[in-house]
């Protein structure tokens, strides 16, 4: 191959010759990943898909002749039958929905906030702070759940700390009441309007859907934010350091204050990382399993039951393998839908294309010497009044 690769290069087709063999290398490089993903992800997914349409009892192979196709029966059982499986699934979706709604924005904002705080060159002891914030992330979910069970126990650390400021904390792990309901009860609303209580979805009244995460789930939400913010902070820090300081300094020279620099210079350049963080956050949040397995096992009152854990219990404990797999696939669809949705939300909008281009132009400052970067028209944060597209485009 080397011989053939050399010949065309001498013949002057430099580009083509230089890139020769890349196809093979490309497949070789991605091969191990593809094979392992194929065998341990793709094939199992196909098997699970079949199981979700079958009446497999968990004995023998799901492809054996004794297993028959039951169509959408398993899916119907958890979505439209209105029985206990439907109600359980609705409850699990409700719980996890609130979890996602609170955890994803909180963890992303907190991670970015921490990253910006500790990424300052001026900061003394930033290694210490960085370590402090990352530390919870290195702990396994199992270990941290054990710790959390202790911290939030009825006579635990959190309630003792709350008692100092005169609050008698709830019995966290035994309290199934939703925090939105509790908040409404505090202002005297204990019963929802009939339109909410009398109509239901997946066996759960709308009023119950709006209950909010239970007190027990809230403890888990706090735990998720606590443990994931450090990991995502690391990703943001890496991105921030890739940005380089030239643009920041140029913006500073242009008189942009810290707030403007953050929103107009830093954040647009963090878009890819933001996308990664929110995607990983969404995917992770819809799969809450380890902390439920280790900690609450779905209780109290099924308010920490999540689809992931319900799928596991249906299959492995309830022997309803088809339903378990069906739940898993609905969960899968939910995750894909959410990822697509947030991709759509975070897409580059045509309107802001020009703006985005302004910011992206110098986005690889490391390729250029500082002098070049400084002269490279660093557009950044012009004062609102002087924003003039034509001026920005002259080069």
């Amino acid at each position: 191959m080397t011989a053939t690769a050399v010949a065309p290069r001498r013949a002057g087709k430099a580009r083509k010759g230089l890139r020769r063999g890349e196809a093979l290398a490309g497949w070789l490089f991605t091969g191990p990943v593809l094979i392992i993903l194929g065998v341990f992800l793709l094939i199992p997914v196909v098997m699970a898909l079949w199981v979700s349409f079958s009446d497999w009892s968990g004995r023998g192979s799901p492809f054996s002749s004794g297993v028959s196709f039951v169509g959408l029966e398993n899916y119907a059982a958890i979505t439209t039958d209105g029985g206990l499986p439907t109600r359980d699934f609705g409850t699990a979706l409700r719980n996890n929905g609130w979890y996602v709604l609170l955890v994803v924005p909180l963890q992303t904002a907190l991670a970015l906030f921490l990253a910006v705080l500790v990424n300052r060159a001026i900061l003394r002891g930033r290694g210490f702070f960085r370590t402090a914030f990352y530390f919870p992330s290195v702990t396994s979910t199992v270990a941290i759940t054990v710790l959390w069970l202790f911290l939030f126990s009825a006579n635990g650390v959190v309630n003792e700390a709350l008692s100092w400021i005169g609050i008698s904390g709830p019995n966290w792990w035994a309290d199934p009441s939703g925090i939105v309901h509790n908040g409404l009860a505090a202002v005297g609303v204990t019963q929802g309007p009939p339109v909410l209580t009398e109509n239901d979805f997946l066996g759960l009244s709308w009023w119950d859907w709006l209950a909010g995460p239970s007190v027990a789930m809230t403890a888990l939400i706090l735990m998720a934010v606590f443990t994931t913010s450090g990991t995502f902070m690391l990703l943001f820090i890496a991105a921030l350091q890739n940005i380089g300081s030239e643009i920041q300094e140029a913006a500073m020279m242009d008189g942009a204050n810290g707030w403007q620099r953050f929103w107009r210079v830093t954040l647009p350049q963090l878009r890819p990382t933001l996308f990664t963080v929110i995607t990983l956050g969404l995917i992770g949040c819809w799969q809450v399993y380890d902390q439920i397995y280790t900690g609450t096992q779905g209780g109290p009152g099924k308010t920490t039951m999540t689809p992931a854990y319900l799928s596991y219990t249906s299959a492995f404990l309830g022997q309803d393998w088809g339903q378990g797999a069906a739940i898993a696939f609905i969960l899968f669809a939910i995750i894909v839908a959410f990822t697509a949705f947030q991709r759509w939300v975070l897409r580059e909008r045509p309107v802001s294309k020009r703006r985005a281009r302004q910011y992206q132009q110098p986005s690889r400052p490391s390729t250029a010497s500082p002098a070049v970067a400084a002269s490279a028209r660093v557009p950044s944060v012009p004062e609102p009044t002087t924003t003039d597209p034509t001026k920005e485009d002259e080069r």
């Binding site: 990943v33 060159a121 300094e249």
Partner: protein
């Protein structure tokens, strides 16, 4: 706490002829106030993040009665090693620890290599089907691990890897999120870096191994940390791929402790001790690599 960095001072000095100076003083004093607020905020946050672990360690040295009556104090009144003696002397804890170590080391080494290879190919090598491969990897990233619990067990069983180290390690060798991260990183490295080596006749692997990979150190360290953590902390995969006590990992073991394998009482000192020891290796890993994480991206390409 002077309030300005060297570079900011330089900037201010450079600017001096152009900007009127009187505002400078006010700007500086305002900056100092901000600095104090910033440090106060950081310290409060750091306490919130660290305190739980200090309490955890403290409680592991308390008696069970004290853990219940005085959970918040950091100094045990009766200092006891009972929890640790019980864990290491009269439980399977050492076996769990050894298993976690074996699995984690193998998985981390394999993952760093495979993931960066694939990330590089997807970022830089032009081959037919690249888009498809990437789409597949991204799609796979969205597959919830729990979807796979049942059939993963079947596949592992079919391949004769059930209840073996192979079954524990091989499925974890690859991580789609890692490929995603590496690909993003390689794309941020200027192409010009490789051009020279390519013109000198370096092949794809050589280009990857001796030119691009060394530059990817910050991303690699991220991957090492994530894989080490990921495999050390993995639970659900071990639930479905093993059953024998000799192959129990720390996560499985400690989870069984948490859900009440111990007979009576809440046993917080033992549970917290078990969880604390489990945290040490990943913590050490982090401290070792932390220095490298600090200086990323510097000196990738000059000129």
């Amino acid at each position: 706490m002077t309030g300005t960095t060297l570079s900011e001072t330089l900037l201010l000095n450079q600017e001096a002829p152009r900007t009127p100076t009187p505002t400078r003083q006010r700007l500086l004093s305002r900056r100092i106030v901000w600095q104090i607020l910033l440090y106060a905020l950081l310290i409060v946050l750091a306490v919130i993040y660290i305190y739980p672990f200090l309490v955890q360690v403290a409680t592991s040295f308390k008696t069970e009665a004290e853990a219940a009556s005085d959970p918040i104090s950091l100094i045990p009144q009766t200092f006891t090693f009972a929890a640790y003696e019980r864990l290491f002397g009269r439980s399977d804890y050492p076996v769990w620890f050894a298993n976690s170590t074996i699995v984690t080391i193998c998985v981390t080494l394999g993952r760093v290599f495979f993931v960066s290879l694939a990330g590089y190919a997807l970022a830089r090598l032009q081959f037919r089907g690249r888009g498809l491969v990437f789409a597949a990897v991204v799609a796979v990233m969205a597959v919830p691990a729990v979807v796979l619990l049942i059939p993963k067990f079947l596949v592992i069983n079919q391949l004769g890897m059930y209840d073996s180290y192979a079954g524990m390690i091989i499925p974890l060798l690859v991580d789609a999120a890692g490929v995603f991260i590496m690909k993003n990183f390689f794309e941020s490295i200027p192409v010009s870096v490789e051009e020279q080596a390519r013109i000198d006749g370096a092949g794809a692997f050589r280009l990857f191994w001796s030119v691009v990979l060394p530059m990817a150190r910050p991303a690699l360290i991220t991957i090492v940390i994530l894989s080490f953590q990921g495999s050390w902390n993995e639970l659900s995969h071990f639930i479905v791929s093993t059953q024998s006590p000799e192959l129990t990992t720390l996560t499985k073991g400690v989870a069984s402790l948490a859900s009440g394998q111990l007979s009576q009482g809440s046993q917080y000192p033992i549970k917290l001790a078990a969880a604390a020891i489990m945290t040490i290796p990943v913590a050490v890993m982090f401290f070792v690599f932390q220095r490298h994480i600090m200086n990323t991206a510097e000196g990738a390409v000059k000129g």
